[in-house]
Symmetry: C2
DNA sequence: AGGATCTGGGTAATCGATTGCCGGTGTGCG
DNA sequence: CGCACACCGGCAATCGATTACCCAGATCCT
C-alpha cells in the first residue's frame, strides 16, 4: 500500500507506456515482462515483483493491437445485428454479452441498420479486426449470402436467429415451426374458429424468420388471410387498420413478432376495440415489454439465455471444418391477457 | 468483368493474404501496394491496375490490426452502455451508429450490464484496442469516476447522458432541469393540484440522470411524495403498488424514465385503475414504445439524433486539451394520452 | 549544357507484444 | 566428480501495414 502513487516522472512521459518502458525500469528484458504479465512461463519471484511494481508505477496498459497482431487472435466475438432499436435484437445482444462475461472473450456489437451495405461493412470491419468469432443475424435471406460466406471462409462464423439460403454456416435459432405449433395448440384449445376467424400478420419473407414463421403458420393453421409487412411497431399499427378496413370486427390475430403484435394491439385499442374480447393478439419472441403491455401479450418466448449458452458451447467445440451445425432451440408458449387460455 | 473468378492457386494458400502476397503477384513492392490501396500517394496507372488486379485475384482483405499498430489510430468509436435491454440506451446506440455511417468511423458497442467491474473491463478493452474515441454512459455517478478518468487520460472520452462527479471530461446530455420545467408547465396547466396530488417516482441518485431529474422535479414542483428505485420496468410496477398501498387513488405521477412510467402504467391498469382519469402518468426519455403504450405516454423526449450529431461535431473539433465541453441538449414535451393537455 | 526540381518506386525501419531458440546457472543422480 | 537435465532470462525474429528516406530518371529553367 505504500507505493500507490503514480511515479511523477512517468506522468511526464505519459501517454503510451510500452513493455519496453516497463522492462527498462525493472532492468529486465521485454520477454520477462511479457512472461510476468501473461503468466506464460514462470519467472523468479523477485523479478516478478520488480516487474509488477514497474508496471504499476508507470501505469502500464497492455496494447491489445500489438498482442493481436502477434498472436493472430483477439479474444473477441463480433456480434452483428440488423437493428438495435428492435428490442428482441438488443436483448439478444445483452444476453450474449452476459453469457460471455467471465469467459475471457469480449463481445462487441455492431448495428447494420437493416442495410445490406452497412452489414457488409460491419463484416469487413470485424474480419479486419481479426475477431475470433463472428455472430451474425443476417438482414436478408438471400442477399446477405455473399457476405456470410465471405465471413465464414476467414473465421468461425455463426448465424443467429436468421439464416441465409444456399450457404452452409453454423446456425443457432429458434424452432419457428414448433413455435407456430404451440400457437395453434393454444388457439384451437380456446377459440371457436367458426365464430372468430384467424388471421396472420407477418413480416416479409426476405428474412428467414419471417419466411419460416409464415410457413409454420400455414402448415399448422391452413389457409387464412395473411398480411405481410416489416418487423416493426409501425407495421403492426398499419396492419390493425388494414384489418378493420377489410371488415374484421373480431379475430384471432397471430403475428410474427411481439413488436408487430404490440403495435397492432395498441392501435386496435386506440380505435376503441377490445382485446381480448373482440380481438385476440398473439406475439412471437417473448421480449420484456410484451409482459408490460396492457393487456399483457400472449407470445412464443425464445429462450435467449439458452441461445447464448449454445453459442458459447459451439465456440468451444466447433472447428471451422464442420460448418454444418444447425441448432434449433425449442420455444415456449407464454399465455398473457391478450389471448387468455 | 473477364477476371472475376478467384485464382485457384490463391485459394490453396487461402486464409491470410497479406500485402506481401499481393506485391509478389503484382511484381511490385509492398510500399506500392499500400499506396495504391490507400491512395496515400499517386501511382502510375499501369501499376495501379496491376496491383488492384492482384489484390482482387487473391481476395486480399486489409488487416486492420496491422494498420492500427502502425498508425496508432483505428477509425473506431467505442460506445459503452450500462444495459442494452434498456430501450433508451439501445436506441441511443442505434442512432449513434446511424449518425456515424458514412463518416469512416465504425461504432462498436459494449454493454457493461450495470456492473462496475464489467464497465471497467469494457473501458480497458476499448483502450487496449486503441479506439480513437470512447463514448461512455457511466453506470454510477461516483464509483465510475476512476474508470472515466483513466479513459480520459489516454484517449478522447465523452460522457453521454450521465456524468460522473469530480472529473472534468466532455459531456453531452439532456437538460434534465429544463425537462422537468416542461413537465411542470404541462401539469400546472391542466391539473388542479389541490384535487389531484403530484408524486414523483424516480430512480436512485447513484446515476447523474437520476440525481438531476430528482433535483429538477423538486426545484420546479417543490415538496411532494417521492419514491426512488431503479431504471427498469420492474420498479415501475412495484412503485404502482406502493402508491396504492399508501392510499393514493388518484395522482399525477411524474416519473424519471419512460420504462418506469410504462411499468407503472401497466400495473395500475391491471389493478383496475384508469389512466388518465384516475392517475396521470408522465415519462421521460421519449423511447419509441412510449408512443405505443395504451394509452400513449406523455413524456419528455430527448432528441437522440441531435445528441448523435453533437458527438460527431465534438469529435471533429475537440482536442484532448480542452476537456471542459459540456453540452446540454434541450428536450421536448410530447403530450400523450396518459396525461392529455 | 548543367543544376534544380519533380515524379514515382523501392528499401527498410517502425508500431508493441509474443515466443522460438540459445545459453548460463544450479541441481540431481550415478 | 562429471554428465544430464531442469530452470529461467535474454536476444531477436515475427505478425502486417505504413511511411521516412533514398534514389533514378525525366523535365524544366536559365
Amino acid at each position: 500500500m505504500g507505493a500507490d502513487r503514480i511515479d511523477p516522472l512517468a506522468q511526464l512521459s505519459a501517454q503510451h507506456v510500452t513493455m519496453a518502458d516497463v522492462a527498462a525500469r525493472a532492468g529486465v528484458s521485454t520477454a520477462t515482462v511479457s512472461r510476468v504479465l501473461s503468466g506464460s512461463r514462470p519467472v523468479a519471484e523477485d523479478l516478478r515483483r520488480l516487474v509488477l511494481g514497474a508496471a504499476r508505477d508507470l501505469g502500464y496498459k497492455v496494447n491489445l493491437v500489438g498482442r493481436a497482431l502477434r498472436k493472430g487472435r483477439t479474444s473477441t466475438l463480433g456480434l452483428l445485428v440488423p437493428d438495435l432499436d428492435n428490442p428482441f435484437f438488443s436483448s439478444l445482444a445483452q444476453h450474449l454479452s452476459r453469457t460471455f462475461d467471465g469467459s475471457g472473450i469480449d463481445v462487441l456489437v455492431f448495428s447494420a441498420d437493416d442495410d445490406l451495405r452497412i452489414e457488409r461493412r460491419g463484416i469487413e470491419s470485424f474480419l479486419g479486426r481479426q475477431v475470433d468469432t463472428l455472430v451474425i443475424i443476417p438482414c436478408h435471406e438471400s442477399e446477405s449470402s455473399v457476405s456470410v460466406a465471405l465471413a465464414a471462409e476467414s473465421t468461425l462464423t455463426i448465424q443467429l436467429d436468421r439464416r441465409v439460403s444456399d450457404v452452409d454456416v453454423h446456425f443457432v435459432g429458434c424452432d419457428n415451426h414448433e413455435g407456430m405449433r404451440l400457437v395453434e395448440g393454444h388457439v384451437s384449445a380456446c377459440v371457436d374458429q367458426k365464430r372468430q376467424p384467424v388471421v396472420y400478420v407477418g413480416a416479409s419473407t426476405e428474412s428467414s424468420s419471417g419466411h419460416e414463421r409464415l410457413e409454420g403458420f400455414r402448415s399448422h393453421f391452413g389457409e387464412h388471410p395473411t398480411y405481410l409487412g416489416t418487423f416493426d411497431f409501425g407495421w403492426g399499427q398499419d396492419a390493425a387498420q388494414r384489418l378493420l378496413a377489410d371488415g374484421f370486427r373480431s379475430a384471432t390475430v397471430v403475428t410474427a413478432a411481439d413488436i408487430i403484435g404490440l403495435g397492432l394491439l395498441g392501435r386496435l385499442q386506440s380505435l376503441g376495440h377490445r382485446v381480448p374480447e373482440d380481438f385476440r393478439v398473439i406475439g412471437f419472441d417473448g421480449i420484456g415489454v410484451a409482459r408490460l403491455a396492457h393487456p399483457t401479450l400472449t407470445t412464443v418466448r425464445q429462450p435467449v439465455e439458452e441461445i447464448g449458452r449454445t453459442i458459447l458451447n459451439l465456440i468451444n467445440t466447433a472447428t471451422s471444418a464442420d460448418r454444418h451445425t444447425l441448432v434449433r432451440i425449442a420455444p415456449e408458449l407464454v399465455i398473457g391477457e391478450s389471448s387468455p387460455a
